[in-house]
Symmetry: C4
Amino acid sequence: MKELLKKCCVEFIGTFFLVLTVGLTACGAHATPMAPIAIGIILAVMIYAGGHISGGHYNPAVSLAAAIRGAMEWKDMIPYWVAQLLGGVVAALAVLHFTTVAPPAENDLCLCCLILFEFLFTFALCYVVLNVATSKGTEGNSFYGFAIGSTVLVGAFASAGICYGAFNPAVALGLLTMATASAKVVGITALTNLVAGIVAGYVFKLTSDD
Amino acid sequence: MKELLKKCCVEFIGTFFLVLTVGLTACGAHATPMAPIAIGIILAVMIYAGGHISGGHYNPAVSLAAAIRGAMEWKDMIPYWVAQLLGGVVAALAVLHFTTVAPPAENDLCLCCLILFEFLFTFALCYVVLNVATSKGTEGNSFYGFAIGSTVLVGAFASAGICYGAFNPAVALGLLTMATASAKVVGITALTNLVAGIVAGYVFKLTSDD
Amino acid sequence: MKELLKKCCVEFIGTFFLVLTVGLTACGAHATPMAPIAIGIILAVMIYAGGHISGGHYNPAVSLAAAIRGAMEWKDMIPYWVAQLLGGVVAALAVLHFTTVAPPAENDLCLCCLILFEFLFTFALCYVVLNVATSKGTEGNSFYGFAIGSTVLVGAFASAGICYGAFNPAVALGLLTMATASAKVVGITALTNLVAGIVAGYVFKLTSDD
Amino acid sequence: MKELLKKCCVEFIGTFFLVLTVGLTACGAHATPMAPIAIGIILAVMIYAGGHISGGHYNPAVSLAAAIRGAMEWKDMIPYWVAQLLGGVVAALAVLHFTTVAPPAENDLCLCCLILFEFLFTFALCYVVLNVATSKGTEGNSFYGFAIGSTVLVGAFASAGICYGAFNPAVALGLLTMATASAKVVGITALTNLVAGIVAGYVFKLTSDD
């Protein structure tokens, strides 16, 4: 298979399982209070399984941060984004096949809090990715998947009562597809995620010697 | 001891503890909502303990995927399957010695959802196994057991309300032995698991350079 | 400091924190359903911290298995056991300083189940220790602490309604010191643990090439 | 960027996310019983992300222990402490922006228990840090972040009903900033943490060959 197509396949598979897990454990009729654990861990698993092929981003904001840092080629960005967003949408449709999902409940949502929180934890996520998966100082480690997935695990626990805790435009699009979040909130979330990815890329450059 | 006998011993021990944990934490009178954590982790543990001897499959579907990928010899398949299924049955009998197990409650079961879900997560499991335990790109890593066990952990959380979340014919046979699942559902589950293992073997060949 | 004294110090510290965690999270007035997680993880942590000095046994049954396998000298056995049991007793006294502990509730206890279960999981524990921490096939790995601690985590979840889930004479002695288990049950438990350690030592020799 | 400034940036970021997680998952209106898991894991994540730059202390007591052991230069101590305490304060202000925090409930607090417990687990934390992150016997491992973060995870579970489970003056200062702990208790906690760091530094020297 062509190299880029392989990479996009892997990005599709990883994002698919990430959003499938989000939908079934956090949004569906059998949602569990341990959803953040399942979500963080499936991300870790998919990074370990696919990282050596595609980098294991599964997240347009992470791909953006990686490109700014010089860890992926800019010309691969659009194919990556398409594969990731497609994975999110297909997974959301699968979720709807398996279960019913609650409609948006966004009355108590403070948009300012949502933006700040999504920014902070997407920044943390990209900062962690760049440091554990692309830095010379941590080369050859076995913890990169655990560290990256766990950032989302913590963010998902901490997001209770503040926002959806997406930290990922592909997850946000999945929530929209499941109709469990409004288009407005999803748009703001996705945009904030991308901005956080950009900031993390530059902060990494300032704090790293690579 | 003869090499193959050693391997089968290790496969028996690993599958035994996997199904024992499934029975006691998920099916018995003292089942806990944290059962998926215990189940995923015992699989990780047994892979770390026995992987260097037998490959640490503990799952006929995984053995099938491994053989397709060329990571195990076809002539060992039947002995492996026997050891794994025997481990599952003996563990189920041990569970019945320790506790009582609820009869099948399959009225709400959608067979189509069951097949799709068992397919998806058994595919994920085998895809993860092949990438983290048999691929050049991840050679020498310390995360393989964590990644593989965690796939089952996530699948078990996500399976709530859909199916038993076996992803493994030996586990399915264990559930049948405990009489907590019907023969029909167990048969469909086991068959689906094997098909998913085959598909994962070929998808790995397409997406990998090895 | 003399080499053996250093090792015994480390064994004392590790067993102390293990039994302290058991007492506070599983036996005290503020016990939590997540106690097995805390207990398994503190064992993992202490193995990572002290394994390179003493081997990180923190368990007379593990020391016995290690000696049979040839991974520790027989002449260190008694000093190790003294340090481990002392760590357990001192930790139990600390627990009683921090909180109140419930008296034994052993009416529903089936001695035959207790013996079988303690045997099975102590065997698993020692089998895992020998394979991940003393075998050539897994040399240089970073998962040994996780794998060993997690075996206890799983055993503790699975032991609900069957027994105390000690898998360790030093933990059993700690439970006796806290007066939350009877002398008879503690004695049977500790003896079973030691037998399981011996069996695991010989099974390792049969299934391993080292 | 100047080397020391880079390090302080990383210490600020790590301590910020640690205290943010403490505040949102353990102190705020949406606190969860799984807070210890989130708190321990965010510490692990931040150590993996920043350890190769600053050492990943995020804790004045850990920095003190590291300096005594010779793993950091004494002249960097004050800049590190400032970055860490500042991270804690800024995170506490962010928490107050996101949620409301309960006032102190310290009536049942036994000061003697608090001091003993904070001492024990801060000692464990620093003992683990020095052994897994600065010792020759564990060089090149991939588990250091997991081991260190997990120590706090266990301590936080075990601290229920005894104290706040800070083990870290920067966390204690964060609790004071959120006004969820009294100045007296925070002061005693922080002082105990520092003493435990000093003791751990010397115990490491006694039990290690480095």
